[in-house]
């Protein structure tokens, strides 16, 4: 059995919706158990109090990244199909601007969209208010399309990966990222000792 199953049409669209509920359930469950239903645990990273967000994110990212590279190696996952059909496309400047806005929203709002859903499930009133704000923000974006519509789709680089961009192999790039993550874990530990806001 080779993945991705949906792209190989092993499962239908309606089956995929059932899968979505199951996958989502696991996703929400793990996010809550990671502590991400509470905005304080999400923003502690920005004050070097608790680098939990970095640890969870990078260990998740590396686990999935290495998993896909290994499955691809053993012929159990078709990475080429991903690269051709379903990999996220890069729009450099819109994504950079989006990153600045999203970073501000995350810090000030206290949540990102997925964690806000879990926040609502946890009874956090601020997460519900955050989501209501998001709905309004998306409306502002949608009705501002005449102003920024052409920027939104600019600097289109297509489906491009870091290893293609830097001219190396998938495996080498994955190894570099893994070591970078390990380095980040050490830095996170140092940053918590430093704790500049809590002196």
């Amino acid at each position: 059995m080779t993945g991705p199953l949906y792209l190989y049409e092993v499962i239908s669209f309606s089956t995929s919706l059932f899968v979505a509920i199951g996958i989502g359930f696991l996703f929400g469950f793990v996010l809550e158990r990671a502590g991400f239903g509470d905005s304080r645990n999400l923003t502690s990273i920005f004050y070097f109090r608790d680098m939990r967000v970095l640890r969870v994110m990078f260990s998740a990212l590396v686990t999935a990244m290495l998993g896909l590279v290994i499955l691809n190696r053993f012929g159990l996952f078709d990475y080429a199909l991903l690269l051709e059909y379903s990999l996220l496309q890069t729009y450099f400047w819109p994504q950079l601007v989006g990153g600045v806005l999203f970073g501000l929203g995350f810090l000030v709002g206290g949540y990102c969209p997925g964690t806000a859903i879990v926040g609502v499930a946890s009874g956090k009133i601020d997460s519900l208010v955050f989501l209501i704000g998001m709905v309004l923000g998306i409306d502002i974006f949608a009705f501002g399309m005449p102003i920024w519509g052409s920027f939104y789709k600019s600097s289109d680089m297509g489906r491009i990966t870091l290893w293609q961009y830097f001219g190396t192999s998938m495996e080498t790039m994955a190894l570099i990222i893994t070591f970078a993550a390990l380095g980040a874990f050490v830095l996170a530990w140092v940053a918590e000792k430093w704790a500049p806001y809590d002196k």
Binding site: F25, T63, L82, F92, V108, A142
Partner: protein, 175 residues
Amino acid sequence: MSKPDYAEGYWNPFVAGIALGLVLLLTFFIMGTGLGASGAVARTAAAITHAIDPQAVEQNQYFSSFYKPGSSGVFVDWIVFEVIGAFFGGLVAVLTARRFKLSVGKGKSFPASRRLVLAFLGGIVGGIGTRFAMGCTSGQALSGGATMVVGSWVFMMTVFATAFVAAYFVRKEWE
């Protein structure tokens, strides 16, 4: 410094991270795409606005893609079902850990009303950000990051760099 009570009782972050990574790996193996969240909020925004002014939404340059002729409805989409699942997964996790509590997450001496205003403003700005970036922490940073997408890494680095710099100016909110 000992941990504050709101940070107690959760999984070890590396265990939680590996578990999250395995869920993400499973998602890619089955679907060929990763996890997401903001897309479902975008569809909700479209649906709410559609209830007020259907024409404006169907003719909108961004929202119209959700209302293509022949589509079975704005909510019939993978990411919407995934987010519904995430809500129930979070609910089961919080109830079984006996952590459900109506409250506002904020710094100790920061007024709750001001925190809610900031949550609302942050939601607006973050919401706009997700549309320019075409995703959020789950869809771009995590899923795109794990598949080593250039734009996702640009997004992730910009998000954290911005928040680390801006953190100083709202330190009272989280103190």
